[in-house]
C-alpha cells in the first residue's frame, strides 16, 4: 500500500516560506509527477515526503498513519537521487544489498531479491563491479535496484534522468514506466521536464513557488489548463499566448492556441504573416511566424513534407474549438 496524503504541509527556511500550506492526495499505485520550473519547491516537497526535511507545519499521512515525525528509514519509502548517490566503495551487489543488510534481512532472501532486481534491470553481469566502472544509465539502474529490493510503499524519484544524455533519457523513461506497470507501486517523480511529466504520469502536479497550480491527468492539463502558467508550461513547443485585439475578439484578455492547432496555408486564413525561422525535423516542421500584427511571434506546427520556407508569406487559421481563453488574472474562462 502506498497512499500518501499531505494536509496543509508547510515548509519555511528561516523567514522564507518555500511551501505555503499545501494539500495533496496521492492514491495507491499512482504515478504522480511533480513538475515546475527550477526553484518551485518540487524537490523540497519530495524531501518533505521522504522525511529528509522537517515540515514547518501540517501533516503527512502514509496509508492513513501520521508519518510527519517518523524518521525517513521507517516511512517505508525508497528514493532515487539525481546524483544516483551510490556507495562508491561497494560493488553493485553490495549497493543493492545495503538497505536489506541494514534491515537484517536474511542472506537467502537478500540473494533472491538481488537476483530478481538484477534480472529486471539488466544488471546481472555487473553485480561485482564498482559504481565507478558503470555508465550513467547503469548507475541509475543500480540506484533503482537499491530502491526496489526494499519493496517500499512508494518510490520517490528526484530528477533521476537529468544527468543522462538525451537518448539514454528516453530509454530510461520507458524503463521506469514499465517498472511502474509491473510493480504497480506508488511512484512520485520530480522533474522540470514537461515531456517526462506528460509521458510518464497518471497524475501531474504543476507547481509554481510552492503553490499547486493544477493537478490532473496529462491530457486534462493539455486540454484544459486552468491558468496561463500551466498553459505555457505544458506542451512542446509552448502554446502561443496572444493578447490585444485578437484576444478581445474572443472576449478574453489573453487567448492561447497550441502550435499544433493552427493551420498554415499559402493562400488563405485568419492571420497573415511571414515565416521567420523554420525548423524541418522530418516528421514535423515548426515555423516561427513574424509580422502577423499579433502581440508575439507565433509558433506553428505543420507536416514534415510541407513546402514552405523562410521568408514566405503565409496565412494562419487557429482551430476555433481549441482556443483557450484567459481573463485579466490569467485564469481560464470556462
Amino acid at each position: 500500500m502506498g497512499r500518501i496524503t499531505l494536509e496543509n504541509v508547510t515548509k519555511r527556511f528561516g523567514d522564507v516560506e518555500v511551501i505555503p500550506p499545501l494539500n495533496l492526495d496521492i492514491e495507491d499505485g499512482e504515478f504522480v509527477v511533480f513538475v515546475g520550473p527550477s526553484g518551485c519547491g518540487k524537490s523540497t516537497l519530495l524531501r518533505l515526503i521522504a522525511g529528509l526535511e522537517d515540515t514547518s507545519g501540517g501533516q503527512i499521512l502514509i496509508d492513513g498513519n501520521d508519518a510527519t515525525d517518523t524518521p525517513p528509514a521507517r516511512r517505508g519509502l525508497a528514493m532515487v537521487f539525481q546524483s544516483y548517490a551510490l556507495y562508491p566503495h561497494m560493488s553493485v551487489r553490495k549497493n543493492i544489498a545495503f538497505p536489506m543488510r541494514m534491515a537484517n534481512v536474511d542472506q537467502a532472501e537478500q540473494d533472491r531479491r538481488i537476483a530478481a532486481a538484477a534480472a529486471a534491470l539488466n544488471l546481472t553481469d555487473y553485480l561485482d563491479r564498482r559504481p565507478g566502472q558503470l555508465s550513467g544509465g547503469q548507475r541509475q539502474r543500480v540506484a533503482i535496484g537499491r530502491a526496489i529490493v526494499r519493496e517500499p510503499a512508494a518510490f520517490l524519484f528526484d530528477e533521476p534522468l537529468s544527468n543522462l544524455d538525451a537518448a539514454l533519457r528516453v530509454g530510461m523513461r520507458l524503463e521506469i514506466s514499465e517498472l511502474h506497470q509491473r510493480l504497480k507501486t506508488t511512484m512520485i517523480y520530480v522533474t522540470h521536464d514537461q515531456v517526462e511529466a506528460m509521458t510518464m504520469a497518471d497524475k501531474i502536479v504543476v507547481l509554481r513557488a510552492g503553490h499547486i497550480e493544477q493537478v490532473g491527468s496529462p491530457m486534462d492539463l493539455y486540454r484544459t489548463p486552468r491558468n496561463l502558467f500551466v498553459a505555457g508550461f505544458i506542451g512542446s513547443p509552448k502554446m502561443n499566448l496572444i493578447t490585444g485585439p485578437a484576444a478581445a475578439d474572443h472576449d478574453a484578455t489573453t487567448i492561447g492556441v497550441r502550435p499544433e492547432h493552427i493551420k498554415v496555408s499559402a493562400t488563405e486564413g485568419t492571420w497573415k504573416g511571414r515565416i521567420g525561422v523554420s525548423e524541418h525535423l522530418g516528421s514535423d516542421t515548426f515555423f516561427y511566424i513574424e509580422d502577423t500584427g499579433l502581440s508575439e511571434t507565433i509558433t506553428v506546427r505543420a507536416g514534415g513534407e510541407i513546402d514552405l520556407h523562410h521568408g514566405d508569406t503565409v496565412w494562419l487559421t487557429p482551430d476555433p474549438t481549441k482556443i483557450h481563453r484567459f481573463d485579466a488574472q490569467g485564469d481560464r474562462i470556462a
Partner: protein
Amino acid sequence: MATRQTASLARLMRAPAIILLLIWMIVPLGMTLYYSFLNYNLLNPTGTSWAGWFNYQYFYSDPAFFDAIWNTLALVLGVLTITVVGGIAIALLIDKPIFGQGIVRILVISPFFVMPPVAALIWKNMIMHPSYGVFADIARFFGAQPVDWFAQFPLTSIIIIVAWQWLPFATLILLTALQSLDGEQMEAAEMDGAGSLSRFIHLTLPHMARAITVVILIQTIFLLGIYAEILVTTNGGPGNASTNLTYLIYRAARLNFDIGGAAAGGIIAVILANIVAVFLMRAVGKNLD
C-alpha cells in the same frame, strides 16, 4: 610533452635539478656509510682507522639498542593511534556548523604552529610538572597524589606531547576528506535505514580511507625521527625508558663523540625506516591507487 623533440628537450632541462637532488641524497648517505665502518672518535680524531663491522656489532650489542627500537615503534604507533582516532573525532565535530566555526577551526589547528621544543617545554613546565603543572593541580583538587609524569610514565608523556602536536595535522587532512563526502549518499543511506553509527562505518570511514592513509604515511616519516621533545623533557631517561633510535644516535654522536658508532646507528635507522615503510605500504598503500 607530446612529441619526441619536446620530450628529449624536457629531459635535458630537468636533468640539472634531478642530478642535484641525487647528489644531495647520495653524498650524505655515502659518507654516513663510509664513517660507519671507521673507528672515528672526536676525542681522538688522529686515531681514525678502519673498523669493519665493529661499529655495527657495538651498536647492536648496546643494551639500549633494543629498548630504543621498541620505544621508537611504541612512540610511532601510540601517536598514530591517538592522532588518527582523535583526528577523526575532532574532524567530525568541527565539520558540524556551529557558531564561531572559523575561530574554532583555527584554535584546533594552532598546536601545529608551536615548534616542537617549545611545545615540549610548555608541557614539561606548565602542564605535567609534578608540583605546579595543571595536571598536578587537577589531581590535588580531587585529593589525589600528583603524578610525576616524566619519572613515572616517560614514554607515555612523550607520546601525549607529540600526539598533541600532530593531532591538528591529522584533523585538518581528515576534515577536508569529510567535507568532500557527498550529502546525497548520506541521505540515501539514511533512507536505506542506516543509523548514524552504520553510516559512519559503511560510508564515512571508507570515504576517509585514503586521507587516513596519507596521515599515517606522512606522520610515520616524521615520527620515526622524533628527537627534540625527548631532549628537552626526559633526556631519554629514566634509564633508557624514553630513548628512541634517533636519540640513541644523538647520544653516540654528541655525548660520546663516537662518529663511527653514530653513523652505524644512522644506517640501522635508515634500514628500520625502510622496513617500516614496506610494511606500511603493504598494509595501507592499496588505498592510494
